[in-house]
Amino acid sequence: MSQRYWKGMEELRNEPEFNRLKNNEFYENLPLDEVMQKKSDDVSLTPRRDFLKFLGFGVAAASLAACEAPVRKTIPYLIRPDQITPGIANWYASTYFDGYDYCSVLVKTRDGRPIKLEGNTLSSVTKGGVNARVQASILSLYDSVRYKSPMIGGKSASWSEVDGEVAGKLAGIAAKGGKIRILSSTVNSPSTLKVIGDFATKFPTAKHIQYDAVSASAMRQANMESFGVNAIPSYSLDKAEVIVSLGADFLVNWISPVEHSKQYAATRKLDDGKKSMSRHIQFESALSVTGSNADQRVTVKPSQQMAVATALYNAVAAKSGATPVASSASGELQKTVNTVAEELLSSKGKSVVLCGINNVALQNVVNGINALLGNYGSTIDLDNYSNLRNGSDADMAGLMDELSKGEVAALLVYNCNPVYTHPKGADIAKAMKSIELTVAFSDRPDETASMCGYNCPDLHQLESWNDFEPRHGAYSLSQPTISPLFDARQMQESLMNWSGNPGNYHDYLRANWSAKATSWEKALQDGLVETTGGTVAQPYTCKADLSAAANTASATSGMELVIYEKTGIGNGAQANNPWLQELPDPITKITWDNYLTVSPADAREKGWKQGNVITIKVGNSSVKAPVVVQPGQAVGTVGIALGYGRTVAGKVADNRGVNAYQLVGMEGSTLSYNLSGVSIDKTTDDDYVLAGTQTHHTMMGREIVKETTLGAWIKNPKAGNPEELFEVHVGHEKTEKPAEEVSLWDNHEDGHHHWGMAIDLNSCTGCGSCVVACTAENNVPVVGKDEVQRSREMHWMRIDRYYSSDADPKEGESGDIKLMEIPSDNPRVVFQPVMCQHCAHAPCETVCPVIATSHSSEGLNQMTYNRCVGTRYCANNCPYKVRRFNWFKYSDNEQFATNISMNDDLGKMVLNPDVTVRARGVMEKCSMCVQRIQEGKLNAKRAGQPISDGQIQTACAQSCPTNAITFGDFRNKESRLNKLWDPKGRSYHLLGELNVQPNVYYQTKVRNIEEGKEA
């Protein structure tokens, strides 16, 4: 048996489309015939003469245009703020929390404009990591759809008018005893909660309800039942030797993904002599990013998760003397669960079972398992609990009840969009019409805000003051890094004003903090205050009635539906952000859409093909969506992502994909993202075209990912990474030499530095944070769905996703890999970030006719846009397919209106002024953030000090939540880059047999599985 790697089902089936893309990077020919000739059979035309005319006119126009130099104004500050020097970036510590994603961040501002977010390494929660959504939020700040002023009934008004009317109505309602409801997503800001408390004191009929679009409410309820603690625990995955997850996508979406990623990566690294790694087992239905990183992935239907949990509980209980509960697990599944239980038991107190399913009974059973394993107090901390999902489904259900009875007199909506995100959104919308006072604090139009009588736009995160408590005892601050762009006001100030306590929220916040922070200035500078030590985590015993819980499992029939979140769009709040829309989904690699993922087996059986549009019906709701055949999807299930199908969000998001929130079910008051009894029909609609990137820029089927198993690697550090040997003749002797000794070219002489990067395939989770970081740092344009479909996405780095499955060598020999379709139903997955490899012997450099790409003495492969004439020879000759061609002018071009960072004055504020916005017709590619290198060198020269390792970071390396990318200087003997370089171990160059001597190297992926054992 040998491993076969494949990029997608297209490759397995050897489809013509795949082969066309595989063999020709630029498969679309230029439409020269159309330009040159009106009709191909009309020979009387003289196209050559026309061509020369065009050419002559072009040259003349260009020279004339060049003669006239425009008068450029330069307008200095009248009174320059002390800390601003034009051209030098300022950094401020702040916090991003939108009720969904939390990150402690550093904000880079240039001349008063925030242009980039990076992780704050001081935070014990996110430890300097940021995810794709937080990275991209900087662009949301400059979205021109934002409200420009407060509005009354959709008409622009002044704040005094709004205050007068709202305060008056509130007083009237309170006097009558009418119910006032503040609906928000999770609020963990102590000062904001106090402001809301003050408001409730002034208006005693007011109540604050928190509700999360993607709810974890069942977990809180279960913890209440099990341990009497109404909280969601924080986890220390770094202490875990065995991690078992039941449907929790904890690396990219679940509760605190950045925190989990940092911890998880620590257990997966095999550097510095570390010889052990955690073992990760995932039970899930749809292939998630987390599942694709698991050592062992077991596909189960959502309805089987209870059987898994109870079987696991029973297996653990049997060894711990606890009473078993009823379980429906049997056969193969029972066997798998038993081995998993053994592993858990062998790491008692150093293991963790996570469950991402919003089901109270299931969460109770999982609590029972963790309590038996003694994980509370070590890997699970219920005392320093997490405050990132405070929503309560029960409270929301209560509000729905009040709304339906028409009892609510005033509804104030803050930081949430229930009309869109609640399964009964339509009912909320209907009820809102008859509510006396509806106020929306949203800073931009959304489905709920557009229905409210009063719009009191809140400030964006980057414009406002606030405090947060992501984990009990860990506080962080956000501070404004730009003056408010529009006539908006912080929600807190609006509430303070209406409570009869008008003032400045900053002062309120400081007063509230005076008791907490030892030094406000220090807290502000660090962006956080964390009480050292915190509460000591305690062990807990589960008190819930597990046998009752186990009995809630019901037999199901028919197809089951899993509703999940995508890494880019998440809960859909930032759907109007084109960076996120164009970020390929880590698994399907599809951009700009959501779709139904179905298993290959179901697709075979039902005769569905990729792109077929099918109707899915759950209860009274139904949606139509295209099919994506997804290896790894549990048979008998389909999956669909949330966050799409927005209708009032802006030109980027509106009417893209379908809204899956309307399919979310209710189990009692709990929202349920897993549904059974789903009926699915193929429609007669035409096939839908999806823009996926998975088969773009392929490397001609060459073996480029290398992997091994932990056992094999410990025995032989070079396992899975055999040396590339070439057959050569020395004199008349035939011999074999390592590839790097066989070269046509002389070596370059090293300059002062020799930059390079290391990428650890073992740590990379494929989350895509680096791709967005690179987009933000390097002014990479968004090209839109149509262009992505034509393989013209501009991302400087991509994350290749390879599936692998065991193949019979005989199948390989016959060349027919179709037979692999069956084992491909649950493939292994490898993620590989690929950017320009900065080859020392770069094939692109030798073919450029104008020397627009050349080699620097510091090891960089330089790309000079102004010299490039667009022959694309370099791209054709690049073995890694990392060069991108500007087919169009993406800036100031109405046809690329979704590229908002280059097409309106507001959006352009996000551009990095140190990087050129490329013109049409030139090649571009990863520069290894040369602007950061140059800046770092200059700072060192000015300080008169050598550059220390880590002082310069590329955007991708900085943002990586698992530290999979290391940037450094090969000439610095002490650099991490040199220490990680181990050609006798895991290090290898991509396509080493070509000996192009890349300055980027990879580290073999190691799986914690037994050799030859089926994953």
Partner: protein, 418 residues
Amino acid sequence: MSIIGRIKKSSLTYSLFIVAFFAVLTVSAQDAASTQDGEALFKANCASCHAVKEKMIGPALKGIETRRSEEWILKWVKNSSAVIKSGDDYAVKLYNDNNKVAMPSFNLKDAEINSILAYIKVEAAKPDAVPGGAGVPGAAPVQEEKPIGLYLLIAAIVLLLLAGMLGRVQQILERTVRQREGLPEPVPMSRKAAAIHWARNNKKLVAVLLLVFVSWGSVKGWYTLKNIGVMQGYTPDQPIKYSHKLHAGEMQIQCIYCHSGAERGKVAGIPSANVCMNCHKYVRKGPETGTEEIAKIYKALDYDPDKGTYGPNPKPIQWVRVHNLPDLAYFNHGQHVAVGKIACQTCHGPVQDSMTVVGQYSPLTMGWCIDCHRRTEVKMAGNAYYNDYHKELLSKPGADSIITVSEIGGLECARCHY
């Protein structure tokens, strides 16, 4: 009278004359000395708040000697607050009229104060200077250099005349020879035919001429094309007639004082108006344009110089950018000024000597950058950033002690283009 007596008499007269002469001389010299001291003292002590003829922070001092007694002035200058405290009506009114800003005490001798008063009196008597009149620096006639082209032109005309004369002589000689030999007259040809005939007989000359012409044309064309977009000498009008020559030259203000970004950042920066106000809060009148141009700063800041207050309607000054690098080129002042220790004048020219209005001195073309990078030595010694690398470069075979920017990769594309 004896001769001696005559001599004596005359010597006496001489002596008297001499004594009188010297006396007069001394007196006038003393006068001059006291006003001169007065000027120095005035500038050192008073000028930051007072002018002779107009109000600044404090009132105009013209006619002070008639307004107040000498005794009062002496007391006031030595300790003004004491005078105010004593309840002197005039002093209290003066204090209130001037925004209650007390004049500091000056430790000056009576004689010194008197010399200042003398200077004020002399200055007050002078007629008002006409702004922008004669004596404006830079207006002095410059010795015009006779262009070399003129000489060449004259030489060419002389040569042409000579050639014409010689040709005529040859023609006459030919005709004479023909007549003497009895040869027939040549058939007259059209001009074109004649030219072709001539060209056929002088193929080499024609070839050389053609070659010269084509080469000249190509070179000329090349440079014309190359200079498209090169704005060397671009000197746009600016909203304020700010003179670098006056500020950086005569007043010797350091470049960095206003262009403070030059040592640190990418751009040197146009100073914000508050930097101007560091001086122009006090200097309210310039030697060239009087108050007119300085008033524009006040207007931009909405500043009232009499009250010393800022209004609510400031309006930024829109300068015209002189040095425009294309977006595709990255240039950092910090690298050149702070690290490379390049003088500002290397690229910006003799700003302090001749630029009343600043213009683009250098071509700012890539060739110009590259040339400098080839020539300029890197300041490696003493900068720890270069330590090991410096040693490494020096120990290379064939290395000399001068390491230029180009030798450490200063000509590579991605140093400036990204």
